[in-house]
C-alpha cells in the first residue's frame, strides 16, 4: 500500500529551542529520518503521530502507530499477559496467535511466561517493537527502534521490515544499519 505524508512549514517551539523543518514529502515504503541529536527526528514522528502540538501543516490520511524509544513496563505481569492486555486495549485487537507469532519471530517465546521486569534491555527493546507491530496501522512510526538491540535483534528487525507489506517511517542516527533496506532517506 502506498503512503504519503506531506509536511509543510513545520515548527515546534520548546523552552530553549525551536525545531524548524522545511517542506518534505515522505512516500517511501520504508523511510529513514536521519539527523544529529536535537535535529527534530523524534519531534517530527511525534507530530505525525498526533502526540504533540506543532506549527505548520502535516497531511496524512492513513492510520499511524507511534513507537517511542522508552516506556515503563508494569510489575508482576508475564510478558505474554502484558502483550495480551495491551492488545485488548486496541480498537481492533489482533488474535492471541498473532502475539505468539511475533514473540516467536523475535525469539522471545521461551520468555513469554517470565515477569516482564526481569527481561534484559535488549529483550525489552524487542517487546517495544512487538507491542507497536501488534497495533493495526497503515504506517508505523518507529523512534530509534535499534536502540538496545543486539546484532541478532537488528537482523531480525531488518528482515521483518523487508518481508512486511506495511509502511515504516524510522528515525535513527544509525543510518548505516538501515540504509540498505530503506526506499528513501530524509536528512534533517
Amino acid at each position: 500500500m502506498n503512503m504519503k505524508i506531506e509536511i509543510y512549514d513545520f515548527s515546534k517551539q520548546y523552552k530553549n529551542h525551536i525545531v524548524n523543518i522545511d517542506d518534505i514529502v515522505i512516500n517511501g515504503r520504508v523511510s529513514l529520518i536521519v539527523g544529529q541529536n536535537g535535529s527534530g527526528k523524534s519531534t517530527l514522528l511525534k507530530a505525525i503521530g498526533g502526540i504533540i502540538k506543532y506549527g505548520g501543516n502535516i497531511e496524512c490520511k492513513d492510520k499511524v502507530c507511534y513507537m517511542d524509544e522508552f516506556f515503563s513496563y508494569p510489575s508482576d505481569i508475564k510478558l505474554f499477559d502484558f502483550l495480551k492486555l495491551l492488545n485488548s486495549t486496541s480498537i481492533s485487537p489482533k488474535k492471541e496467535e498473532d502475539i505468539s507469532k511475533l514473540l516467536d519471530y523475535f525469539n522471545l517465546t521461551d520468555k513469554q511466561d517470565d515477569d516482564i521486569q526481569s527481561l534484559s534491555k535488549g529483550m525489552k527493546a524487542k517487546v517495544n517493537i512487538i507491542q507497536c507491530l501488534l497495533e493495526q496501522a497503515d504506517i508505523y512510526l518507529l523512534d530509534e527502534p535499534l536502540s538496545g538491540l543486539d546484532k541478532e535483534g537488528v537482523e531480525l528487525f531488518k528482515n521483518y521490515i523487508l518481508k512486511s507489506k506495511n509502511n515504516f517511517v524510522i528515525s535513527t542516527h544509525l543510518n548505516d544499519e538501515l540504509e540498505d533496506l530503506s526506499d528513501e532517506v530524509i536528512y534533517l
Binding site: G49, I52, K53, C65, D68, S72, L86, T89, S90
Partner: protein, 245 residues
C-alpha cells in the same frame, strides 16, 4: 474502556504497592485503636460517652483526611510520574479515552481505599467501645470523605498535568494543611471566616460544625460540582498538552 482500566490497574498495582497499602491500613488501625481509648475502664467510657465519642471521631477523621490526601499523592505519582506509559495507549486510543480511563482507575482505587479506611474506623469503635453502635454508621460522613478525597485527587492530577513537575504536588499538601489549620471545628458553620470560605472552595475540608455535625463547608452538591469542574479541566489540559515519556 474496561480494558484500558485493567491496564491502568496493572501499572498501579504491584505486590510492593499492595504491601505498602496494607501497612498504611495496619498503621491506621493501630491509631484508631489508640484513639478509641478502649484500654480505659469500660464504665468510664460509658459515663463520658459523649466526650470520648467526640474525641474518637475528631482524631480519627483528622487522621483519615491526612492519610487520604497523602495516599492520593502517592497513587498520582505512581500513575503519572513513576510509570510513564501514556504513549503506549495514545497509539491505540484517543487522548480523551486515555485520561478519562486513567482518572477513573485512580478514583476507583482512592474510593476503595477510603471506604476500607472508614470501615476500619467504624469497626474499631463498634467492637471495642460502648459509645459507637450500628446507628452511628454515618453514610453522609463517608460520602463527604469520598468527595473530599476525589477533589484532592483531581487537584493533584491537574497540578501535575499543568506543570509536569513532581514538586508542584507539594502545593496541594500545603493547600490542604493551610485549609485544615484555618478552618475551625466545633463552631457554627455560619461563623467560619471569609478566608476559610475562599480556601474551602478548592481545598475542601471535612470539619465538625456544632449545628450540622461533620460535613464539608459548602456541602456535597458544591463538592461534586467542584470535582466535575476539576475533572473537565484535567481532560482539557491533558488534551491540549504534549504527551512525553
Amino acid at each position: 474502556m474496561r480494558s484500558l482500566i485493567l491496564l491502568h490497574f496493572q501499572y498501579l498495582f504491584s505486590w510492593k504497592v499492595f504491601y505498602i497499602t496494607s501497612l498504611i491500613l495496619l498503621l491506621a488501625t493501630i491509631c484508631f485503636l489508640y484513639f478509641s481509648n478502649f484500654y480505659l475502664d469500660y464504665d468510664l467510657l460509658l459515663f463520658n460517652k459523649q466526650y470520648y465519642s467526640e474525641e474518637y471521631y475528631f482524631e480519627s477523621i483528622s487522621l483519615i483526611k491526612i492519610i487520604v490526601v497523602l495516599f492520593n499523592m502517592f497513587i498520582v505519582i505512581n500513575s503519572f510520574i513513576l510509570n510513564k506509559y501514556d504513549l503506549l495507549l495514545i497509539s491505540r486510543r484517543s487522548k480523551k479515552e486515555v485520561i478519562i480511563s486513567k482518572t477513573l482507575s485512580l478514583l476507583i482505587i482512592n474510593n476503595g481505599f477510603s471506604i476500607i479506611l472508614y470501615l476500619l474506623f467504624l469497626v474499631t469503635g463498634m467492637f471495642l467501645t460502648p459509645y459507637m453502635n450500628i446507628s452511628k454508621l454515618d453514610l453522609s460522613l463517608l460520602g463527604d470523605i469520598l468527595i473530599f478525597g476525589s477533589i484532592y485527587q483531581m487537584i493533584y492530577i491537574l497540578v501535575y498535568v499543568a506543570n509536569k513537575t513532581i514538586y508542584a504536588l507539594i502545593l496541594v499538601i500545603v493547600g490542604y494543611f493551610i485549609s485544615d489549620i484555618v478552618t475551625d471545628s466545633f463552631i457554627v458553620k455560619e461563623n467560619v471566616t471569609s478566608f476559610s470560605k475562599i480556601l474551602n472552595v478548592v481545598f475542601v475540608n471535612v470539619n465538625y460544625y456544632t449545628n450540622e455535625g461533620y460535613s464539608m463547608l459548602f456541602g456535597k452538591t458544591v463538592g461534586i460540582t467542584v470535582f466535575i469542574l476539576l475533572f473537565f479541566c484535567v481532560v482539557l489540559i491533558y488534551f491540549n498538552r504534549d504527551i512525553t515519556n
